[in-house]
Amino acid sequence: MIVCVAVVGHQNNPLYIQSFTEADDALKLHHIVHSSLDVVDERVNNPRKSGPTLNETFLGLLYPTENYKVYGYLTNTKVKFILVTTDLDVRDADVRNFFRRFHAAYVDAVSNPFHVPGKKIISRTFADRVSTIVKSFGLSSAD
C-alpha cells in the first residue's frame, strides 16, 4: 500500500505531499520523504554509481526504513517524485508504472495556465487523480 506521495521542487521544497495512511505516521512520513532527498541528491550528483541508468528518470529504491520503502523519480525539469510504501514485496515495474502515471498527472497539473511554476500544487483535480493512481497501485489490471 502506498502511504505517501510527494512532489519536491528545485529548492527541495515540498510542492505536494499527501499521505494515505490511517495510522499516526503522517508526520513521520514527511520526515522520511525529506530524508530521502539526500539519496536523490547523491544519485543525481554521482551518476557513476547509477551506472547504466544515466538518463533514467526512475531512481529506484532510495532506501528501506522501518516498515517503509522509499522510491524516487526525477523528472527532466529536476522535480522529484517520492513514493513511500509499506509493501514488503514491490515490483519495480509497478513502481515505474505508478511514476509514469503520476508524472502525467503532474504535467497536466502544471500545464494549467493558472498554475505558477515553482509554487505548491493545490489543484483538487490533481489530488483526486493522484489518489486514484495510488489506489490502483499494484493492481496489474489498472494499467
Binding site: 508526520l27 539526500d38 519495480d92 509554487k119
Partner: protein, 1193 residues
Amino acid sequence: MEEYSEEWRSPPVSLVALVGCSEQHTLISEHLTSEQHPPINALALPDLSKLSYLLNLHHQRHHHDPDPSTPPAGIIKRDWLLKHSTRFPSVVAALFSSNQVSGDPSQWHQVCSDLDSLKVLIRQRNIKLLIILVVHSSSSPLQPQDDEIGEDRILALRKRAEVESKYLFVFTPDSDDAAQLTQSLNRLGSIFAELANTYYRDEGRRIKTLLDKKTLNSPELNIRYCIKVAVYAEFRRDWVEALRFYEDAYHTLREMIGTSTRLPAIQRLVEIKTVAELLHFKISTLLLHGGKIIEAITWFRQHNASYKKLVGSPEATFLHWEWMSRQFLVFAELLETSSATTQSFSSLPFGTADRSLTEWEFHPAYYYQLAAHHLKEKRSSLEITLSMSANENNSSAESVAPSVYVGQFAQLLEQGDVCTMHPLTDEEYIHYAIAEGKRFQDSFEIIALLKKSYESYGNLEARRKGYFCEFQIAREYFSVGDFDNAKQRFDGVASLYRQEGWVTLLWEVLGYLRECSRAHGKVKDFIEYSLEMAALPVSDIGSFRFKECGPAGPSSMPQREAIHKEVFGLVRGEAGLALVEDNYEFKLDVDTPVHLEIDLVSPLRSVLLASVAFHEQIIKPGVSTLITLSLLSHLALSIEIDQLEVRFNQSECNFIIMNSLSPLSAMSTNQQGCRVESAPSLALVANKWLRLNYEIKSEKSGKLECISVIATMGSHFSICCRAESPASMDDLPLWKFEDRMETFPTKDPALAFSGQKVAQVEEPDPQVDLSLGASSPALVGENFMVPVTVTSKGHDIYSGELKINLVDVRGGGLFSPREAEPSTDSHHVELLGIAGKEGENESQMGPDEIKKIQQSFGLVSVPFLKNGDSWSCKLEIKWHRPKPIMLYVSLGYSLNSNELSAQKVHVHKSLQIEGKTAVLISHQFMLPFRREPLLLSRIKTVPDSDQLESLPLNETSILVVSTKNSTEVPLQLHSMSIEVDDDAIESSCSVQHGGEGLLGPAILVPGQQFKKVFTVIPEGGSSKLTLGTVYLKWRRDFVCEDQSGSPMSEAWVLTKHRLPEVNAELSPLVVSLECPPYAILGDPFMYNVKIWNQTQLLQEVKYSLADAQTFVLSGSHNDTVFVLPKSEHILSYKVVPLASGLQQLPRVTVTSVRYSAGFQPSIDASTIFIFPSEPHIKQADMGAKTPESVAAK
C-alpha cells in the same frame, strides 16, 4: 557487541595442555600464543593431577548429553564454548626430562605409570597426546646423553604412550644456538597445530555422524550439533564449513518457532531469539570478515525480515523491540569495525534492479538510526506494560538469574547451602524482565545511538538525514527535560526546514522550541517562536492527528489561530504566560518590555514586513515628497498596531503614526520634537498590504534613507522591522512557494518594481554670485589676470573654498591636477598664483587658510562673508603658447559655521579664454646701397626652401627687425635689442645698433609695425653665424582700463625672438655704383661702376650699358675686361642730366664669365634725383638734426 561473552565475539583459538617439566612451560606457551600462526592457547599444568581434575569436572554431565530418549532442556549450554576454549585441551603434551627417561628403573616406572593414567584420562575425550622429551644440553654433553637414552628407551616410551614416532618430540630448550631453538619451537608448534586440527576435525566428524543419523527428533539437538560442528570448524579456521553449519542451525532454529512446546511461550521465544541472535552474529561476522559485504547485508535483511513480525505476546512486546534494536546496533558496530566496508561498496551499482541494496544500507549510520528507532518502540511498549502492571510485587524477580542454557532464565532457590535452579513461569519471567527494563535509561541509549548516526551521516554529507537524527535527539532531550540541549539542536533543524520550506516539519520543531523557551522562562524567545508559527503557511490539506504531533499540536489553521491569540494576549498584557518554572505566571509590564528586531534574514519577516518607497528618487531640500509605507503580515489573524514609528538616517525626518482608535494614542503623545501623524486605523489584515502615504521633507542634502519601522502593540511590546525597498525585496522564504495572488507593496506597480527606500536630497540652490571677469583674450607671455568675485546674495558663506581648474579645450574633460603635471601640454598654460584682494598678499594669509596652487589646479579658501558682502581675488595665469583653455571655478561653502554638520553648497562657473600671441617679430637682411657683392650661393640656388640666408663676409649688411602688434589692443613698446646668446662660442660677427634707442615707450596700435635697423658685419671664421636673439619688452597699454593706476601695468613682458643662423661667404666680385647723391640739371657728374676682384684669379667681365633718354653720357657702351686678382676695375662715365626729377641712370649690366653670373643694379640703385638748380636747404637741415641725436645718447 558487548552483550556477547568474549569467546563468542572472537574466533575460537585451539587449546592445548602441557603437563610435567613445568620449567619449560613458559617458553613453549609463549611461543604458541605469540609466534605461532594461528595462535594456540596453552594450559600449563605442573602435574597430572591438575589435568585429571580439569577433565573430571565435567565428566559427570558429559554422558548425559547425547541421550536421545529424554528431550533436551535447552539448545546449547551457556558455557559450552568457554569450556572448550579454556578447559578442554585438544592436545595434551606430556613433557619428560631425559633424566627421567634414562634414569634408574624407579624413574622409568614413574614415567610409565604417569603415561598410563594420562592415557586413561584423555581417551574418554579423544584428546591427542604428544610426548616431549626435554634434553638438557648444558647439564651434560649432548652426544653421550643421546647415546645414554638410547633408541630402545625412546621406542619403549613411544610404545608405552601409543603414539606415532613423529609425535615424540625431542626438545632441547637450552641450546646455544638461538636459531636452532626457534626452529625447534616452530616444529613443535606445527606438531601442536596438526594434532589440534586432527582433534577438532575428529570431534566435528563425530558430531556430524550424530547429525547424519537422522534419528534426532529434537530440533534443539540438531541445532546444538550444528553449532558444535561449526565451532569445531572455526577452531580449524574452516570458515566455509563453519558458516554452513551456523546457517543450518539458524534455519532449523527458525523452523522451531511454531513447533517447540518445551518452555512457556514467552521464554521459548526469548530463548529462540537469543540463540538466533548469536547465530546471526556469528554468520555476519564470518561474512564480513570474508569481505562479503553484500551477502552480509542481504543476510541481515533476511534476518530482520524473518524476526520482525515475531513480536510475541503483548506483555513482552518490549522484549522484542529491545531485541530488534540490538540486532541493528550489533550489525552497525560490525559494519563499522569491518574495514572492508569502506572499500568495496563504493563501486557497486545500486537501487535499480529488484531487491538490490541501497546506498544507506552500507553505512552504519542507517543501522544506528534504526536501532534507535526500535529502542524507542521498546520504550513505548515498556511504558504500556508498566502501566498495566503498575503495582505488583517484584520480590520474586530478584532471585532470577540466567540458567545453564543460552537464552534461559531460572529462579535461584537457596535451601540451606545448596542452590537449586527452579524453572520460571512466564509471569515470573515478565516481572523479572520489567524490573530489568526499568533499570535502563532508554533515552540516553537512544541519544547515544542517534548521535552516532548523526555523526556518520554528517561524514556522508547526508544533511537531511543527519538533521532528522538531530531532531530525534532533540526530542529525546526534550522528553528527559534537558531543554538546553534540545533547544540548541532544534534550532539547527529549524533552520534547514526554513530554508527548504518544509512547513509542517518546521511547525513541529517550532512547537518544541516554543515549549523549550517556555520551560526556560525566556519570554522573548517564546514570543518569537509563537509569532513565527502563527505566520507559517500551513495548509489544511494534510490532516494530522494530535497524538503524533509535537507539543504545538497539528499544523492547521485553527491551531495557528490559537497560537496567534495566545501570543497576542500575552503581548497586549491581557493574558499571562504560564512558565514551567515555579508555577509562575508571567505578564508583560513596564519592567519587562519586549522588543523584537526583524532584519532582512529573520524568519520573522513573515510576521511583519515593512516596505518603504519614496515616490521621487531626487528631492529638493525643504520640498516635501511622498513616501509609501507598506506593511504586510502573514499572521493568522488581523492585528491592530497602536503606533508606528518610522526612522530615517536623518533623525529630524522621523515621524510617528498614531492609531487614533487606540487607547494608547491618548497617553503617549508627549514625544518631544517628533512629528506625529494620526491614522484612522492601523489594522493589519492578514496577507494584505497596509499602505500608508505620508509627506516627508528634508532640509539636509545627501542621502535620506528609511532605516526601520517600529510597530508598537500594547504598551510593552514593540517590533522593530528593517525597512526594505520594494524594488529589491526578497520573497518570503516560506510563502514564496504558496500558490496565492501576488500583491504589490504599493498601489502603483511601477513604484513596486522600482521604488527605493532611499532618496537623494539635492543641495539647496546657491544664493551666491560667482563672476569671472576676463575681458579680452590673453596674450602669450603676460601674466593674465582673471578677477574672480564672490558676492553673497542671500546666504552667509562659511568656510568657503574656491577650486580652480584649467582645462585644455580640445582635451575635453577636466584634467585632474595630478594627471596634468607630467603631461607636456599643461605647461603651455599655467596657473601662477592667486592674488587676494588689494593690499592683501599671500604672506598675510592666515595659516589655516588653504591655498594650493598647481599648474592647472588651485584651491583657495574664501573668508567668511555676510549676506551682501563680496570678496574677490585674481587668478594669475600665464600662457606660454597661444592656446584656448577652459577655466573652471567652483565655490563650495556651508550655510552655517558648524563644521561637522557641514552641508556644502556648490556654485560652478566656467570661462573659455583664448591665448593669443601679442607681437609678431620678423627680420630682413639688406645689402649696403649701390654695392653688390656676388654671392655664389645665390646664383646656384637649389630649390631648397630651408637654405640659410647668406651674407657676404667682411661686408656690411643691414638687418631690419620689425615687430607687429597682432592683437586687438594697443601695446606699449619699451625696448628692442639684439643680445648675443650666452652659449655662442665666439662672436664671429659684429651686430651694431643702427640708430638711437627709444626715448620713451612707443605705442603700437593694433596692426602697426615697429622696425629697427642693425648693421651686421660677418668677420672671418666659420661660415655659419649666429646672430643672437631679439629681446622685445612690451606691455599692454592700459590707458583707460584701470583708473586706480593699477600696478599690474608695470610689468613689462619680454618676448624673445631668436634670429636664424646665416651663412657668411666670401664674394668673389663686388660691384658698386658710385654717383653723387643728387645732380643738377645740365651739370655733368661722374658715374663710376667699380668691379672689385677679391679672388686670386683673373676675372673676365663683360659689361654693357643701356642708354637712358634723360642723360647724355660718355664712355664705352660694352666691352670685355679682365680684372686682375685683388684689384679693382673702374668703368667711368661722365653723365649730363637732361631732365629734372627722379631719373633713371643708364643701366649697366656686368657679367662674370667665370661664374656665368650677370649683374644689373636694381631700379632703386640706379635712380637719382635731378634738381633743376642748386638747392639751398642743406645747411639748415644739418644743424637741426645734430643736437637731437646728442640728447638721445
